[in-house]
């Protein structure tokens, strides 16, 4: 094969790939570009002129450090629980069982399909220490001696919103793992079993490689999604008690829609974005590089 022919083949391929991708990219840029740009502009304007004041106010705020710490705890807690639970449940649901479809629908769809606002008030209600079902049940069963103020204690409240969010969100990772597991031919397991691999061995040699690509993507998407997710916290605790469940986004939401301070909210949103972006860039670098090596 001579040189020009090869390069024109490559060119043709590139053009084909661009043709497939560009319309979508243009669509996104159009719908996203304006909001993002107006957000940026807003964050750099104070009293009608260009200024860094909004950013200064965000950073100099006494709460900034607490918000950062809260955001990280909320994200790390929710994401790791969701990823682990999601994987465990996907593996369970992947076993051939009678009524598999129904099991999957029950376990995956119900929490996910519950609208945020309903999930928030329902959890708040169930966690009520005086008449909530969780305390009542735990005392009856004997796990607790007496009622715990789930949302009234800083530490418990933090844990409670993370658990509620895990309940609401684990299905996302579980579903994509499950779809990934479905691409594994049964024969592979059988072959591994014939080779004498145990459950763990089969998991390592067959399951893990198959879901690896989804592990990375799902992890990254869950992180992005969790940092930016706020309705559950907003309804359950409003950021309290004593600010322990306030995150960047719940605070940015309050700034914009409660205090009508859109400029400062935009600045905080940009900061949030930069945090997420840094994380995603790190991940995608690792992810794509590994993908290219393979």
């Amino acid at each position: 094969m001579n040189q020009p022919a090869a390069s024109s083949y490559v060119h043709r391929q590139h053009r084909f790939a661009y043709g497939l991708s560009l319309p979508y990219v243009i669509f996104l840029v159009l719908l996203i570009g304006y909001p993002v740009a107006s957000n940026l502009v807003q964050s750099f304007v104070a009293d009608g002129t260009f200024s860094l004041e909004n950013y200064q106010r965000v950073f100099s705020q006494g709460e900034f450090r607490q918000l950062l710490v809260n955001t990280l705890i909320w994200t790390v807690g929710s994401v790791s629980l969701q990823m682990i639970l999601g994987l465990a449940i996907a593996l369970l649901l992947n076993q051939p069982a009678r009524g598999a479809g129904l099991w999957r629908a029950l376990i995956l769809v119900l929490p996910w399909a519950t609208p945020d606002i309903v999930a928030g008030v329902a959890w708040k209600w169930m966690l009520n220490d005086m008449y909530g079902v969780i305390n009542d049940l735990m005392v009856r069963v004997g796990i607790l001696d007496w009622y715990l103020p789930w949302l009234g204690d800083p530490l418990l409240a933090k844990a409670s919103v993370i658990v509620a969010n895990t309940w609401k969100g684990f299905a996302l990772s579980a579903m994509f793992y499950l779809a990934g597991l479905k691409t594994i031919p049964v024969e592979l397991y059988e072959a591994a079993a014939v080779d004498g691999a145990g459950i763990l061995g089969r998991f390592r040699s067959v399951t893990l490689p198959a879901i690896k690509p989804f592990l990375g993507t799902t992890l990254m998407l869950t992180i992005i999604w969790t940092i930016n997710y706020f309705p559950l916290i907003y309804t359950m605790t409003g950021g309290g008690p004593a600010g322990v469940t306030d995150t960047f986004v719940t605070y940015a939401y309050r700034l914009a829609f409660r205090f009508t301070d859109f400029a400062r909210s935009s600045a905080l949103s940009t900061v949030t974005f930069l945090l997420v972006f840094a994380l995603a860039l790190a991940y995608s670098t690792i992810l794509l590089r590994r993908g290219e090596d393979a």
């Binding site: 005086m130 103020p149 009234g152 409003g238 004593a242 409660r258 205090f259």
Partner: protein, 417 residues
Amino acid sequence: MSGRRVSILLVLALFLMGSTSVAAEPLTVWVGGHIVEQERTWAEIIAGFEEETGIDVEYRLIGFEVYYDNLVTAFSAGTPPDVTFADLGGWVPTFASRGWLEPLDDRLAASEVTDQIWPNLWPTVEYEGNRYGLPWYTDDRLLLYNTKMFEEAGLDPNKPPQTWEELLEYAKILTNPARGTYGYGVSGLKSEVTTLGYMIFLLGNGGKLLTDDYQHVAFNNEAGIEALQFYTDLFTKYRVSPPGTLSYGEDDYRTMMAQGRLAMAIGGPWSFPLIELANPEIKGNYRVAMHPYNTEPASVFGGWASVVSSQSTQKDAAWKFIEYITSYETWREWMRRHGGPMPARMDVAEDAPELSGSNWQVVLDVFPVAAFRPPIPEWPEVSDQIQSMVQNVLAGRMDAATAVRTASENIERILAP
């Protein structure tokens, strides 16, 4: 053949319907607040208005939890309704300062309704010398208590506590953690009700939140610290408020009161139907009284006002609508159907037989001493600081003096021009 003709007719009819609805732009009205049960009443009142005036109204109900945010979004994007409702707790000045509302002074001056509104409501709808809203209904905050629990504890339900000392004394008697019953519910949730709770204690201690010109903090003193100390001590020191205090507000406490597990909390006229809904057997076993105070009787009122969007293209129709729903006849009809809430009109409050019960008498008696929240655009942020202040002390993160100082510094910064 005929099927085709029918479908052509259908398309034509749809087209005509589409074009007429575009031609006559309806008056848009957003109703927020505790409204679900009143859906039918609204529908009928609005139908009555349409019939009388020939003005086409498109109304929408919005849940309270999302109402404020929804209004802010619509106003910001330039798609507000013609008429909407604003909470008397600072919404009107907040919206007016952003240029979202239409001043109503001239229309109010020419209207018969104006003289009938309780005079102390007006400051809540004013901003920089103009009036932007017509108050629609109001209420005041009182001590709501469970008379049966009083009796069981050997207390006289006809003699509710009047001072802070009595409040504490009663609350201690009524508290029995082993049985899961508590004496007084301290609102400690991250929400406006916590601000209101602190305000009642602050005002009852002779203090106030801001200076009269609303330029500076006024609770950064002995009265303010003492009020916060006593309010939070009820939970942290005396434990007469339930363990989950930091997550509860008036509504949670009303439910507990219906269950016979909480004896006293802040409540008001809105509590009457709701506590009976939660437990029909409590009827006759709850009562309201002036909230206990230290040096001065105190209450805070709330309520709603109708406002007109400054971007509205149908301001005359909007005003007509507001006058209609605030008219004597509409209000009497409203009272007849729902037995409440408390109308912003004095004449209706006087005439309505529905307001003659002893509980309602307390509501009306206390109303003259009821204060309002500072009507300033920065109110939501100020209130947020007060909530944090109360929570910090309840959670044991700060002592009362430090919390008051921190909140004062932050609020001064917020109020700085």
